[in-house]
Symmetry: C2
Subunit: 263 residues, 2 copies
């Protein structure tokens, strides 16, 4: 008889090791035992961002809680690429979307930045974090990206690490295509690209002073995302996609590294 396949993948705070016992938090227990109706003996996958991905099993299940037991590691832990998404918060549904997609697209961290034209509803970091956990569980990411504190763009730039490059999605017509500009940054030794950030402005774009400051910074690569005006959420997905495809873990070498050891 074929072994049951794990239908659930769960991010847990616990350390993971053979026979480790995990008591899921109340909401997770509700999801596991009431929504997904897992029962004693059912398999699932767990990860914590530190110890890789483990096959676990439901040892006890009641309507109110239960216990999981770690069986064996199925993927070794890997680090995500050192890619930060700086994004100006937009409307709620589109901000949720950006946050979800940044996880699927393998960002290590996200930081909301307030630009001059940012006109956002109030940010709820706890809600955004819950979206990020769900996205990481769903897409097979071994890490939940870090959600950095929201900050004004000018202050973020004041304290910028000069070693971290910024992909600035510029609306000027004369910026080079993103893929072409990034290809010039491929390490000659075929190794991993250095630290980067992708910066996405609000609907309505950056103001003149912001754009001028960005273009003047040595670590900024101002690029074009094609001839149409993309919404902020589209621009975020497009820019992260191109980064991963050209410099990140979507290249053949990168993918082999990101995948971890499947045992």
């Amino acid at each position: 008889m074929a072994e049951k396949a794990a239908k659930v993948r769960l991010c847990v705070p616990d350390d993971l090791s053979p026979e480790a016992r995990i008591e899921p938090a109340r909401e997770q227990a509700h999801y596991l035992f009431n929504v997904m109706r897992l029962a004693a003996g059912d398999p699932l996958l767990v990860f914590n961002g530190r110890d890789g991905e483990w096959l676990a099993e439901v040892s006890e299940a009641t309507r109110k809680g239960g216990v999981l037991t770690c069986r064996e590691r199925v993927r070794a832990q890997t680090r995500p690429r050192d890619l930060v998404l700086l994004f100006a918060p937009v409307k709620k549904a589109r901000t949720d979307f950006i946050v979800e997609k940044a996880c699927e697209l393998g960002c290590a961290a996200l930081r909301p930045v307030f630009t001059k034209r940012t006109n956002a509803e109030r940010l709820r970091p706890d809600r955004l974090r819950a979206h990020m956990v769900e996205a990481a569980e769903q897409c097979g990411f071994l890490t939940v990206p870090e959600l950095l504190e929201a900050e004004r763009l000018d202050r973020v730039l004041d304290d910028w690490d000069p070693a971290r490059r910024i992909l600035f999605c510029d609306e000027r017509r004369d910026a080079p295509p993103a893929a072409q500009a990034l290809a010039a940054h491929r390490p000659a030794d075929g190794g991993e690209a250095g630290p980067w950030a992708v910066l996405i402005g609000p609907e309505g774009g950056f103001d003149e002073a912001e754009s001028a400051r960005l273009r003047g910074l040595a670590q900024v690569e101002a690029v074009s995302l094609g001839p149409r005006v993309l919404r902020a959420d589209t621009a975020a997905v497009a820019a992260l996609t191109i980064w991963q495809a050209v410099l990140g873990d979507w290249t053949a070498e990168g993918e082999a590294m990101a995948e971890g050891t499947r045992t």
Copy 2:
């Protein structure tokens, strides 16, 4: 005194020529005169997918309707790249999203396809078309993509034009990265790529028989979109982005062609 900038861009069915008179449909009139509060003398941009983009002016505005007059052509008509998105409909919000993004990303046509695991709510072509018009207006596209009739994937493949290649986003680990696979299809003469389609499956992917049939077709290019499992909407944006960046109008040459003549 600086000339007022056009704040509205409208898709109209009318032919566009100097002094052409346009009577906006009721919903458009409501949008122009009640929502955006345009008044006589205000400029706006109009396009119809045939005659390029025109600067027009409000000649009459009442609460119930009004008249626009074409002044001068500001961009010549261009054809979009011959890129079709075949997508399995998913949940309503994510299907809306796919349709909106396919316009921003410059598709010529969209076709919903029903695969074995497609589990969609009822499709409303009129609603999808309205989203597409709005997206084209917003992103500066000179064309509203065509919405082709929804069809079963196996029937679509039965009648497939052998000259049109299919980018098949495969979930197998051994498919080559999308950007690398597409780069091999760049025309040697630097001209425009031939006809293509991007095929995006439902959440849950293609079934084994579908995948096997697709991989066996000569015109299919099976590719990977990185090491994480992307949702259908993310996969659609990512695949269209890579297509445009490698073969389409996001390349330096492509962009110059797509932009049209700005006079």
